[in-house]
């Protein structure tokens, strides 16, 4: 797929182009013919329920898995994991906090830096900067296994930023965090996107996370792309306003582009009704016919 049309990358130069990507495990198709683009500097969310194919997609984009079909391009160049220069562009935060528990926070960063060919005072400086950025300076000499869940998560992110990647992949960055830590993590991710001048590609199954963070959202379900766009565009696709019509057994939804039309319909109904703005959960429900649990 060409990226000649800059609009396909949200009016930005194209950073990642994915075309016809497919991967199966035995008879199970995990990612089925998906194509999309990510623009430079975007905060891009890949939203879908558990098992939708989000992690497989990240693993395909970062070379941890090989695709059965399709291609990935970075800055227009075909991605081949054997070409090491492309890997320098990428930072990855996996779903699990894959830290060396026995090593200190600083040692975890040291080994990462060495794996990326960094050394000497430049490496020490980056370790200091990344620990400071993640508010972990005081935990520098604490074994990673003794850090709290939120701190471990931040350390994994700091590690991924150490070699100054242009693109940061985060697989479910806030899974397992309490609501307070989750909101702090959102602020941290925004800072990364803005201050580190880094394209952020994150997967999530939390709708509010995609809604709060992302410039653009791509919805995936059962290995296939459902739809994509900015949160506003996605909501506009189904209607910006929704009526929750409470029946005896369930709640029915009706979508409206404009609020007056929704109000008019509300007045016609003699059952219990609520009017509210559309959320991405509604978009998912409308397009897939199921809730994202």
């Amino acid at each position: 797929m060409s990226c000649a049309d800059a609009l396909s990358c949200n009016q930005r130069p194209c950073e990642i182009e994915v075309a016809g990507l497919r991967r199966s495990f035995g008879k199970t198709v995990a990612v089925d013919d998906i194509s999309f683009n990510v623009g430079q500097g975007e905060l891009f969310a890949f939203l879908g329920p558990n098992g939708a194919g989000k992690t497989t997609t990240i693993n395909l984009l970062t070379g941890l898995l090989k695709p059965d079909a399709g291609e990935v391009r970075y800055h227009g160049e075909l991605f081949d994991p054997k070409r090491l220069n492309v890997k320098q562009l990428i930072g990855v935060v996996p779903q699990h906090n894959n830290l060396d528990r026995e090593l200190t926070a600083a040692e975890n960063l040291l080994i990462h830096g060495r794996l990326f060919g960094m050394r000497g005072s430049k490496l020490q400086q980056r370790i200091y900067t990344c620990l400071e950025f993640a508010d972990l300076t005081e935990k520098r000499d604490t074994p990673a296994g003794k850090l709290s869940g939120g701190m471990k998560r931040k350390l994994v992110i700091a590690r991924a930023l150490l070699h100054q990647p242009q693109i940061l992949f985060l697989d479910e960055p806030t899974v397992g965090l309490d609501p307070h830590s989750r909101r702090k993590m959102w602020a941290f991710l925004r800072r990364i996107n803005q201050e580190q001048d880094c394209t952020v590609f994150l997967t999530t199954h939390y709708i509010e996370e995609a809604e709060a963070l992302a410039d653009r959202v791509l919805i995936i379900d059962q290995a296939k792309l459902v739809t994509g766009g900015t949160p506003q565009e996605l909501k506009a696709k189904v209607g910006n306003y929704v009526l929750d019509i409470y029946n005896e057994e369930d709640i029915q939804n009706e979508f409206f582009e404009q609020r007056p039309a929704a109000m008019q319909r509300l007045e016609q109904l003699d059952t219990s009704v609520r009017i509210r703005e559309t959320t991405l959960e509604d978009v998912f429900l409308k397009l897939t016919g199921k809730r994202m649990d």
Binding site: L65, L103, R114, G117
Partner: protein
């Protein structure tokens, strides 16, 4: 140059440093028990191939224990791959896949030296003279590299911890007992000798024992045999690691 291999080696050494006491103790206990059971229990006063049984046994224990340590990287890689997922960091780094083999093999070799120090100490305590010369060092390096590579390959081909235990049960344990560690292979029945001939430990035990025992006859061809095994294993490891996915 080789920054990936050096980074992996550094990582393993930093972790080893933190568990050094446990590793030393584990390396000391098992050969001590074998020494007591076989050396002083079964083989007390016996002669094997013209030498005292203890002088026969100690080089065998050294080879077996160092093999266990070098091959033991399999379990560590396995845990880092399937449980802690740290292995992903190596796969994501801009390094050649064979550098992972190199880093881990060097770590296996380093670990394999720990029992050598312990058996050296046991030789002093038991009054058995062992000749730690350059020929021994060369044989030991080849032996450790072979078993570290075998450990690496095992860790790459298994799909779970349970698979790892199966390989240990069907490959490593028989190798320990049938490769001339405790008894000379040529005193075994023909069928056992045939099985032993396919185990690399048979050749490294023979060579290491010859280099350690003063006055023993050394078959230089065994070095070539070990080099050939090493080359084949490295080639295999390179092919396997190139295909590894998470």
């Amino acid at each position: 140059m080789l920054y990936g291999a050096r980074a992996i080696y550094l990582r393993e050494m930093l972790i080893l440093r933190r568990k050094m006491i446990k590793t030393l103790m584990a390396s000391a206990v098992s050969p001590a028990l074998f020494l007591l059971a076989f050396g002083y229990g079964v083989g007390r006063g016996a002669q094997v191939g013209g030498v005292d049984y203890l002088a026969f046994l100690l080089p065998g224990l050294l080879t077996m224990s160092s093999m266990n340590q070098a091959y033991g990287i399999a379990t560590e890689i396995n845990i880092s791959r399937f449980y802690f997922k740290v292995f992903e960091e190596f796969l994501l780094a801009p390094i050649k896949r064979w550098e992972i083999i190199l880093g881990e093999t060097c770590y296996g070799i380093t670990k394999g030296f720990i029992p050598v120090l312990i058996i050296g100490l046991y030789s002093l305590l038991t009054g058995v003279t062992l000749k730690f010369g350059p020929l021994f060092l060369l044989a030991l390096l080849l032996h450790l590299a072979i078993f570290a590579l075998l450990g690496f390959i095992a860790a790459m081909i298994v799909k779970s911890h349970a698979d790892q235990a199966t390989i240990n049960a069907f490959l490593i344990t028989p190798m320990m007992f049938l490769s001339g560690t405790f008894f000379p292979v040529d005193q075994m029945p023909l069928a056992i000798r045939a099985v032993a001939s396919i185990f690399p430990l048979t050749y490294s035990t023979q060579l290491i024992r010859a280099t350690l025992t003063p006055g023993a006859e050394l078959n230089a061809w065994l070095y070539l045999v070990l080099v050939a095994i090493l080359a084949v294993l490295f080639f295999l490891a390179k092919r396997i690691v190139a295909k590894v996915e998470i």
